[in-house]
């Protein structure tokens, strides 16, 4: 049987860090043998660990790395349908398929995520308002169940399991391979317009006016502005650029390799304090001007943070918390205004806050996005006072009919969570049918009562 490494690991926010028993299987039978042996009470899959909190942690229990399951299985040049193992990263997909004229149908704000992680959190991107989540482009996948059986799941076959697994944070089983559609593109560049919004209402207005015209849209929002300026932001609106607009001289499907930076160690926690964040926010808003038809490479547009490796260390050893909520259209204005006010009142500042309009909800039982507006921000963890504050935010979100995102959560309570996800009971029923002993469980799943503590 394969060996494990006892390691202290964490999500991208560096909080919480937990000791887990980490396995790195390289054959499917390694996993089935391991589960059958009962070596650990629970197992959870882990992709590239880009979830912020404890989604891919299993305190004192098993964590399965997918590093060795990272192979392409099949690519159809005609249809753009790619089949690959779940450990393949978005970075690799871009590296190999963008030069051939294909791009990801949906991508989060970092390319260092795996296909398995993208399905299990049902990730969304800047095009959610038109293209939905990543899973909406997934045709089917193979899922290894607690029984050792491998089942083929699609919208038609094992559809209950399909809808429980997309957004199901690894709790239904191990995704082995998946098939999904890439989209054809003419270039590796985007044609981007920048628009400044004076305040939240103005931002909503601009989103509403532009949603039809742009495949990608997102607003960076200054969460320190107050009063009439509350919610002032810079909208970034883009479409894939046709090859004819790319004037780099070289192959329009390629971009120059840019230098990479690395944050070599955890910064002392005073580096990102209220004043430096205020200065950054002020400068960011004022540097940007309304600008039209700027040609921007895909890396700068989709993954501005990826050029600095380990940027999370800038938050210091204590780490940080990422918070993301979505509000329905009716309450978005009120909910977001309230949220931003509380943030600035409490002196909790966020370096990066991102506002985005989201499209219709899909059938994923624990899938996060639904129609309305979503705000994501990160907050440095300076003191434990942050947690009661976040619980207040949760209540505010719930009271406005909103919900928070499991990929970012590390503190919510079971009651609030159940409140926010009405399909939880359905999810639990599907899970109970395939995994009655909770072989698959995570620290987060136990904390939120998605699975029971022990049976």
């Amino acid at each position: 049987m394969i060996k494990h490494k006892e390691s202290l690991i964490a999500g991208w926010g560096n909080y919480p860090a937990e000791v887990c028993n980490v396995y790195r299987p390289d054959r499917v039978r390694d996993i089935t043998e391991l589960i059958a042996s009962g070596a650990q009470p629970h197992y959870i899959s882990r992709g590239l660990g880009r979830s912020y909190g404890d989604t891919a942690l299993n305190h004192g229990s098993g964590v399965l790395l997918h590093t060795e399951f990272a192979r392409f299985v099949h690519f159809d040049e005609q249809t753009g349908i790619l089949e690959c193992e779940a450990g393949v990263s978005f970075e690799e997909i871009i590296e190999h398929f963008l030069p051939r004229g294909w791009f990801l149908p949906v991508t989060p704000g970092t390319k260092f995520v795996t296909v398995g992680g993208a399905i299990a959190n049902d990730v969304h991107g800047k095009n959610h308002h038109v293209d939905g989540t990543f899973s909406q482009h997934v045709l089917d996948f193979k899922l290894l169940l607690a029984s050792g059986e491998i089942v083929h799941c699609s919208r038609e076959e094992q559809s209950d399991l399909f809808y429980a697994t997309i957004g199901g944070v690894g709790l239904t089983g191990v995704i082995l391979t998946a098939r999904f559609r890439l989209i054809p593109v003419e270039s590796a560049y985007l044609e981007v317009d920048y628009l400044k919004a004076k305040n939240l209402d103005h931002a909503f207005e601009l989103f509403a006016q532009t949603n039809e015209k742009y495949q990608y849209s997102v607003a960076w929002i200054d969460c320190l502005s107050k009063g009439d300026n509350l919610g002032r932001s810079v909208l970034m609106l883009g479409n894939h650029a046709p090859a004819s607009k790319v004037k780099t001289g070289g192959d329009p499907l390629r971009i120059k390799n840019k230098p990479k930076f690395n944050v070599p160690f955890n910064f002392p926690s005073f580096v990102l304090n209220r004043w430096s964040i205020r200065a950054f926010n002020f400068a960011y808003y004022n540097i940007h001007q309304n600008e039209k038809s700027k040609i921007v490479d895909y890396d700068s547009f989709f993954y501005p943070l990826d050029s600095v490796h380990n940027w999370n260390r800038a938050y210091g050893k204590k780490g940080f918390v990422q918070y993301q909520a979505v509000f329905p259209p009716e309450t978005s204005r009120q909910g977001l205004t309230e949220m931003l006010k509380r943030l600035s009142q409490s002196g909790r500042s966020s370096f990066l806050a991102v506002l985005k309009s989201s499209g219709e909800q899909n059938g994923g039982l624990l899938s996060f996005p639904f129609k309305g507006y979503t705000l994501a921000l990160d907050i440095p963890l300076h003191d434990d006072g942050l947690f009661p504050f976040l619980r207040e935010l949760d209540e505010l979100v719930a009271a406005h009919g909103g919900r928070i995102y499991l990929a970012k959560d590390s503190e919510a309570s079971p009651a609030t969570f159940a409140n926010m996800y009405p399909d939880l009971a359905k999810f639990q029923a599907v899970k109970a049918a395939v995994d009655p002993n909770n072989v698959f469980s995570s620290s987060q799943a136990r904390r939120l009562g998605i699975v029971e503590e022990s049976r």
Binding site: K3, K5, V22, R27, E68, R71, F72, V73, H74, H96
Partner: protein, 245 residues
């Protein structure tokens, strides 16, 4: 563009080497026991790099089958420009001390079977007056230690065999490279206690590729293992024998 045959293609270093070669547009022949796994690797390499990758069942201990195996590989590829021998069997030292079958498996896999295939390969390259043989031996073969001398003695034998082979083939222009990897982050070492200075397989593969280019004879990888082994080898036997290594 070259055709490279990799024996033991599913091992950690072999896989990394396969991707390294494919990145340079070499075609590959993958040989080993786990055909399904090799097919998965072959498919992936083909999609990533567009090179030709074929899969060949190979059982190191089936000595009688080695000649046919090699002919079959030659027929598939037309010509072979280089061979990497990357398989090995670490075994269980304690078991090997008590069960001869285990000792035998360690010695046969690491030494005897290598002699069998390398003899065939050497004759082929000698008549062609071209080609390289890159063989993964081990630092464990540099000095016998109580914790793994069954494996170590077989690898030590292999290193000596390669020395002789290099001597024989030098006039034919055939390059024989003995690689002695230190600790590499593979399935064999993951979760094993007492590991230090563990190198990534990709890093090791890159280094090996460079040694093939530069026609190096014997190389440690990562390079600093040369110094570690120099120290270990220089301890006088009357002291060494009392150490618990």
């Amino acid at each position: 563009m070259k055709n490279v045959l990799i024996l033991g293609a599913t091992s950690g270093i072999a896989k990394a080497l396969a991707y390294q070669f494919a990145g340079k547009k070499h075609n590959l022949l993958l040989a080993g026991r786990d055909v399904e796994e090799m097919k998965r690797i072959a498919q992936d390499i083909h999609i990533r790099h567009g090179v030709k990758v074929t899969v060949h069942p190979f059982d190191a201990l089936d000595y009688d089958g080695h000649a046919d195996f090699f002919t079959n590989c030659l027929e598939t590829a037309g010509e072979i420009d280089g061979i990497v021998l990357a398989y090995g069997y670490l075994g269980d030292q304690r078991r090997a001390e008590n069960e001869f079958a285990e000792a035998r498996r360690v010695i046969e896999t690491n030494y005897l079977s290598a002699v069998s295939v390398l003899n065939i390969a050497a004759n082929y390259f000698e008549s062609k007056k071209d080609g390289f043989l890159c063989v993964l031996s081990s630092v464990a073969g540099d000095r016998g230690r109580q914790s793994n001398f069954m494996y170590g003695s077989a690898k030590g034998g292999l290193s000596l065999y390669l020395q002789g082979l290099r001597n024989r083939l030098s006039k034919s222009g055939v390059h024989v490279l003995t690689v002695k990897p230190g600790f590499v982050d593979t399935k064999m070492t993951f979760g094993q206690s007492g590991m230090f200075l563990v190198a990534k397989p990709e890093q090791v593969a890159k280094a090996i590729d460079k040694m093939i280019q530069k026609r190096v004879d014997v190389a440690y990888t990562p390079f600093f293992w040369r110094y570690i082994m120099l120290i270990i080898k220089s301890v006088p036997e009357r002291i060494f024998k009392r150490l618990s290594l």
